[in-house]
Symmetry: C2
Subunit: 257 residues, 2 copies
DNA sequence: AAATGTGAAATTATTCACAGCT
DNA sequence: AGCTGTGAATAATTTCACATTT
């Protein structure tokens, strides 16, 4: 995509790598903390440490935005905050709707970090008529019937789906039809969207499963190394032993699913 | 890390790529759905569609686990469910503690997908003495003072942090000292952990910021293409125009932070 | 005929290491 | 003297395309 046609002046070429985009919010958060402590400048080394990445990566990331540092000195904190904010589109206001006001939806509505940085919860939507009118986080819940009108009246382009998995695709379709082009999906299901619509997903269960994979791996290595097991590791090793039912065992009746 | 020493038989070599591990839960979910519908076999094409990836990637991913398919036929659903579950370590029970029982912590405790697939909420922990003893999702909340004992008594190796950002590092340190080696962090802060401890983070604000970046990009392209704007896109374009304050503007007083 | 499994190519991301600026 | 910015080197990931197996 966007194959470099070898004729544009190298300056500020389009296309920041996706991996870099994903880290910009991290840098921004670290910078904001420095700004609040009135720190005027910061080196790539310091900022990288605060953001939990290595400094070469950080410098490379910033190089895609432009040359915002000063050699021998570092980066001006305020200036960088502004440049990254602008790059991320946070200098404008983003009205957001949350659909599905259960436990999670309510938690999201109450989440402070949501409101900061340009995002504004414009409306809460739920399918339960009993919820309608009830305020959550100070915002009255509206009924799904009015979804399209709410989207359009508020010029919403970002939707958050916090419904049960079964309702997610349907809600997604309606959001997209009404003009939403970015979706943050908390429902544990794959959403099908047309070209041009971005979906990002947050899935607790997936994150835990990834951790379990590494945890299992660690348990295996411990067993091999066979040192004294600190803390709760002994119990973990015991679990491991109990679960190991021979290599490549044949298919059992049914799995935990 | 774990540099291949070039002497092990290629069969089932160690080290599944991280990107593959991150997709296994996705495949597992799709397979579980098929299993519930009693679908006996599935092709890489079909399964890939259900999981939202392309089929070559899926086949490559599975090739790291072993040869579990049948050429000309596809994959046996039950068998694959089992193999992936085993690979992810889901054939064993993982007791988990959630620390910080605010809105989000409560939502997590109530989250059904949590309990499925081998994860069990062993305890809820909060720093507020007023919460102690109160049941959330049927589990009584315990006080932070007892954190170490709770971890050890339950053999917990996975901890979920849902505290405010300010408390997260301290909670993390105590969890790790007590024997936890995997942490799922919902607090918007970078956690420092010793070697051997895995941390995964979930950050709503970061996800929204990434969406905003792409959203902004789209608005720019629309303005360039200048077609009829469907739905709420017109309003979005207007926002864009309002926010564009010339290229490379100088530093403003303060940013939204 | 159909679909897997996989080398090889292409792409993307990270890290190194140092020239160049302040 | 210190620290950025970036080519070049390396590593990881994705995609292609097809030989191989059922």
């Amino acid at each position: 995509m966007a194959t470099g046609r070898t004729h544009r002046p190298a300056t500020r070429s389009r296309g920041i790598p996706e991996a870099t985009v994903a880290r910009l919010p991290l840098y921004l958060r670290a910078l904001t903390a420095l700004s609040e402590r009135s720190v005027p400048t910061v080196s790539s080394e310091e900022l990288a440490a605060a953001a939990g990445v290595n400094s070469a990566k950080l410098r490379k990331d910033f190089s895609y935005l432009g040359s915002y540092g000063t050699r021998g000195v570092g980066y001006d904190v305020e200036y960088l905050v502004y440049q990254i904010s602008r790059e991320l589109g946070l200098t404008q206001d983003w009205p957001v709707v949350i659909v599905g006001i259960g436990n999670l939806g309510a938690a999201l509505a109450n989440y402070g970090g949501f409101a900061s940085r340009g995002f504004r919860v414009a409306a809460l939507i739920d399918a339960d008529p009993a919820m309608a009118g009830k305020p959550v986080a100070g915002i009255p819940v509206q009924h799904t019937d009015d979804l399209e009108k709410i989207i359009q009246d508020n010029g919403v382009s970002i939707g958050v789906i916090a419904t049960p998995a079964g309702a997610a695709q349907q809600v997604c379709d309606r959001l997209v039809a009404a003009g939403v082009t970015s979706i943050l999906n908390f429902a544990p299901t794959v959403l099908n969207v047309p070209e041009g619509v971005d979906v990002r997903k947050v899935d607790l269960s997936i994150e835990l499963q990834i951790l379990a994979f590494h945890e299992q791996r660690k348990a295996g290595e411990e067993a091999a190394a066979d040192g004294a097991l600190p803390g709760a590791a002994a119990a973990a090793a015991a679990r491991k032993a109990a679960a190991d039912q021979g290599p490549d065992g044949d298919v059992p009746a049914v799995m935990p699913a």
